[in-house]
Symmetry: C2
Subunit: 402 residues, 2 copies
Amino acid sequence: MTAPPHEAHPAGPGRSLPDTQQGMRRRNLARVMHAVSAEGPLSRAAVASRIGLTRAAVSTLVDELIRSGLLEELGPQRPGRVGRPGSALAVSGRGPAGIGAEIGVDHLAVCAVDLSGRTRSRAERHGLNRGRSPRTVIEELNELIRLVVAGAEGEGLRPAGLAVAVPGLVARDARTVVRAPNLDWRDTDLGGLLPSGFPLTVDNEANFGALAELWLGEGTPRDFLHVSAEIGIGAAVVVDGGLLRGTRGFAGELGHVPVRPDGPECACGGRGCLEQYAGEEAVLRAAGLEPDEDRVGLLAGRAAAGDEDVRRALRDAGTALGVALTGAVNLLDPESVVLGGELSALAPWLLPSLRDELARRTAGPACPVSVSRLGPQGPLLGAAHSVVRAVLDDPAAVAGRA
Amino acid sequence: MTAPPHEAHPAGPGRSLPDTQQGMRRRNLARVMHAVSAEGPLSRAAVASRIGLTRAAVSTLVDELIRSGLLEELGPQRPGRVGRPGSALAVSGRGPAGIGAEIGVDHLAVCAVDLSGRTRSRAERHGLNRGRSPRTVIEELNELIRLVVAGAEGEGLRPAGLAVAVPGLVARDARTVVRAPNLDWRDTDLGGLLPSGFPLTVDNEANFGALAELWLGEGTPRDFLHVSAEIGIGAAVVVDGGLLRGTRGFAGELGHVPVRPDGPECACGGRGCLEQYAGEEAVLRAAGLEPDEDRVGLLAGRAAAGDEDVRRALRDAGTALGVALTGAVNLLDPESVVLGGELSALAPWLLPSLRDELARRTAGPACPVSVSRLGPQGPLLGAAHSVVRAVLDDPAAVAGRA
DNA sequence: ACTAATTTGTAAATCGGCATGACGAATAGC
DNA sequence: GCTATTCGTCATGCCGATTTACAAATTAGT
């Protein structure tokens, strides 16, 4: 019964939970974990000054966290300042681990991340998943998960949750895949197929990619738009450090934003959707190429080799993206736009026209567009880290299950 | 030093304030206020069961709130059930009041709202404000404010804050108007010109309109898109019961979403922005009418009279709005779209084509579009209520200043 | 080397705030 | 009238953070 990680914040004081002392304790435990996790080894006194509690209070909190195996005492710090040196505290390397999994069109991947953010175990398998039944794919995935879990346990870690990234729309129950065109899945509940030993979260690949960017990217703001693309074009909206999910969980469907209202018909019923200009299939067609296995690699290779058709196709896709993003930027006023996922490999040829278009359509200074450093492994890392963040956000919950 | 009302929620446990008993007390005071305010007269026991605290705890909280003048004891309730009847509690009709003000293109309005939401005093003045200097306009506004404040005090109310709605972009400091095309104002700091007796908040008219819809509308969801228009077209995005403001506070600029990327040039630098198809000036031009004083009234009148040119112009505007809203709905997945402000008067002729366009471009069931019941007085009410909500959200803050 | 100053971590006492349990008060049903 | 039920309050206790005090460990100064 853990709260889904990084849900939008609960409402105002009206409807939230009653505020009792236990809740206070829990929140303060969380603050200690966040402080230690974010700012490396820290003494009790340092934590106290950072989170605004007294040293005495922090002492008891830390005791509890150490007993739960979430924090480790590293011993006396090497001092440069006067006074008694503090004893360094760090998140435990043998505590809970976040298990992240990714179901891609042409691969499966699983990894385990410890509280400090280090990847401690991983496994993957290549091979097309398109059209295969959810059951078959998930069975293979479960095999990888067993492997990774065993590996993590071998290092003294205890899996605290599983988060699965899928290339498609996921309902707000974080269990059922409503539509995944790349896999030909519709309305499939993954809840029953995946291991049930620990809390499960299923979410859109783009969402997890955005969270990875938020947590792992350097200098990533708390308000940005994360764009990623495979066959469809997904975006994730990060507002004030949290994901915007929408009523049904479908927020971020950039692919069907109208770019040319009178353009060709789209499967969605509309006309001139972005997907028809910047979607993978559209770009391949415009470049005069056949759809093949590693589509993005093919495009990137040809573009790098100087293929003018491909470059033109990518330029045009960038322009279309620019139009759609102008709308999004006007509406959301984000601090930046980040291109992530598979898109980052094509960024060199997309970016110039995209930035041009965005700047041309913006009155003041245009919203900066950057490329994710994490690239295609963003979703997997984001998934694993989402479990870790859930632990940091409520350490008492996992401690209780220890 | 009050927190700005209804800012986006603070971050996760990492950066928030330390959690001490006083904070707990404050939050519980707020919960009591919200419960009583939302669900009419309530006994202490009823409040306790609603917010999950014990009767004893609620008793002390209520005592404090009564002493601060925020709650009133109405005496024994008329009972229908067995057992000792409870003593009804209601928000005070003599406590703090929210002062809301609106600067429109052709009018000024001010009102005072008590904690129960009733308007207790109001004043307005008609006359064009376009082109007049901020100083002159604000001086007139201050006169109205003085009037309303005096009226409120005459009824035993104590002004707790002032919120001003302006038809333009407001910086995140909630004080300076960055751009207000309808007034010809640019980068003007209203902080120094307005009365300084109580906390001040300046915000976009569309934002306050959306908040009014959220708080006063019946059955309004917690995630919706509120569209309003004067010369520009503004939208406000409500996510999980709070406003999405954007990094600079400019979120919701629907007017410059590209609708036809190759359309005519716009003042913003772009081409084919929504404003050029659905903006007031554009619609008037398309209808073959001259800009005049009461533009919206003129359009509504002609359309109602059956003027086919006007009706066509409004139909086309609705279609353009539909295209822009398709993008927005795809991106945000709101529960509904609400047409508010001056737009609501034109809704009968805009809605059909708007809904058509939105439905045509949506795969599943289209996002429902409704019209605000509050109409043009939404912004003023939203402003006044924002102050009231700030009191409900942190009663201890005003009690301290009592 | 010795002392003073400074900082850390912990222990004891205190305080604030909610829960618990008991009680008188006020009502409905019999 | 009697009982069951509900409401508001009081005394008590528990939990959690603060305050105050103190021993331990280091640097700076003489």
